[in-house]
């Protein structure tokens, strides 16, 4: 498969929280809206949902100098290279596309929810009615058609841009220079590099629901890299030992002297 890896760069320093991307995503993917309840924030809906694949998180932040600041972060699938969700998916519903992004084929999904527990970013969402998983697929259908993702197209400030991997990483670090060191690039240093990157204005630890050191959970590595192969190795080894025992020692016969009548 020819690999032209794409990265979506989200520059939070340019985001005005207009939520155009949120609406464009719903519209392009034909996802319904649902009634929500105000919980004391402009953030709406309160969290990602099966029908909301991207969400602007609104956060009130007071920095070290006591200055108040709004932080806006467009949350959604990070399209990991070492994707925990793909590693645990038993059906092959989750897969890497030729762009390095993580696609989802709902036809294959069996609704086991393993991906939900495994994802270090808490992204996949379950639909009770269809019993399937939903999440951002980085507009795979649009990429294939040479179009940019709906969210990127809709963004009025240029905070969301998509391009080839190397160019976007250069662009991210170039932007740091413009920000005179007041920014942080997030996404290239873990899980093999994500295909969604951020320019953050604050330390990653400051942001709601943003892991500082995301990685494939240790439990998933033990499960898939150790216990899974050893299920076959263990049963096979024991069967081999039993066969050797049968050939070398032979079956354990009952004491013959007691056979016959008595």
């Amino acid at each position: 498969m020819k690999k032209t890896e794409y990265i979506k760069l989200i520059d939070t320093t340019k985001c005005t929280a207009c939520r155009g991307c949120q609406v464009a995503c719903k519209q392009w993917n034909e996802m319904p809206a649902m009634r929500t309840r105000n919980f004391g924030s402009y953030q709406n809906p309160p969290d990602l949902q099966w029908n909301t694949w991207t969400l602007i998180r609104f956060q009130e932040h007071v920095d070290k100098n006591g200055d108040f600041k709004w932080l806006f972060r467009k949350d959604g699938c990070m399209h990991c290279t070492e994707a925990a969700c793909i590693k645990v998916c038993p059906s092959g519903a989750l897969y890497h596309t030729e762009y390095g992004t993580v696609g989802i084929n709902q036809k294959l999904c069996i609704g086991c929810k393993a991906c939900i527990s495994a994802c270090p970013f808490d992204i996949p969402r379950f639909n009770q009615q269809t019993e399937k998983i939903y999440k951002c697929d980085l507009c795979y259908d649009r990429l294939k058609d040479g179009q940019q993702p709906a969210c990127a197209l809709s963004c009025p400030t240029g905070a969301i841009t998509v391009g080839e991997r190397e160019a976007m990483i250069d662009k991210a670090y170039g932007r740091l220079d413009q920000l005179e060191g007041k920014g942080i690039v997030y996404g290239d240093k873990f899980v093999g590099g994500t295909h969604v990157m951020y320019i953050l204005s604050e330390d990653p630890a400051v942001y709601d629901k943003l892991p500082v050191k995301p990685r494939i959970p240790a439990s998933v590595i033990l499960w898939k890299n150790l216990f899974k192969p050893f299920t076959l190795i263990g049963m096979g080894a024991v069967a081999g030992m039993a066969a050797l025992h049968y050939l070398i020692k032979g079956p354990h016969e009952v004491h013959e002297n007691k056979e016959g009548d008595e």
Partner: protein, 210 residues
């Protein structure tokens, strides 16, 4: 009347055999469907059972049967499978299976190896059922609990699966005359003298038995 069958001893009753095969059948079916969920390359398993979604549900139903049977089996066998001091001697000599020994302690109903298998199935059976319940409904548990349950479930399957192969060998071709204990329930007297001499002696003292 059945006691009159020449030189044969009834070693299990029908309830015991039904419980054994329910436990073994549900466990094996769980293992079979579980391997279908574990290895994408073994897609002949879901193909045979009508798809992976159906396989998942058959696995869960079979797991529920396994869980209830395990409780019954535990109550039924826990007394005969309680360890006693002589079991250490039996284990130290490999039960006579691996090298020549001549002072194996006489066994009551089950030898120390069989007892070990029983307790492994109980302990890892409980773990596989509990972790299975969690990964059936992972969203109602904290993320860490759900994550470790997947690992625990796979580990328990590995342990039970490997012990099962030992059990299969020793219950069939490894010990001729043993398989009938779980089919007709009748074994030869010579078999009993080899495999459960103390139990046989006690039973022969009691004329009401058989």
């Amino acid at each position: 009347m059945s006691g009159k069958i020449l030189n044969m001893v009834r070693v299990t009753d029908p309830i015991e055999r039904i419980a054994h095969w329910l436990l073994a059948g549900s466990c094996l079916f769980c293992l079979f469907t579980g391997l279908g969920l574990m290895f994408r390359s073994w897609d002949f398993i879901p193909a045979l059972l009508g798809g992976l979604y159906a396989t998942k549900w058959m696995h869960i139903f079979s797991g529920v049967v396994f869980a209830f049977t395990l409780i019954y089996a535990f109550m039924m066998w826990k007394k005969d499978c309680a360890f006693e001091p002589d079991d250490a001697k039996w284990i130290a000599q490999g039960g006579g299976y691996l090298w020549k020994t001549n002072n194996l302690p006489p066994v009551y109903k089950y030898n120390a190896g069989q007892k070990l298998f029983f307790w492994f199935v109980v302990v890892f059976g409980v773990l596989i059922v509990l972790s299975g319940l969690v990964i059936w409904n992972p969203l109602v548990f904290p993320t860490a609990v759900a994550r470790w349950s997947y690992a625990l479930h796979a580990l328990s399957a590995l342990v039970i699966g490997s012990f099962f192969v030992v059990h299969l060998y020793l219950g069939t071709i490894g010990n001729p005359g043993t398989f009938q204990a779980m089919t007709t329930g009748w074994c030869s007297k010579a078999w009993c003298e080899t495999h459960c001499p103390r139990w046989l002696a006690e039973r022969e003292k009691d004329p009401s038995e058989s």
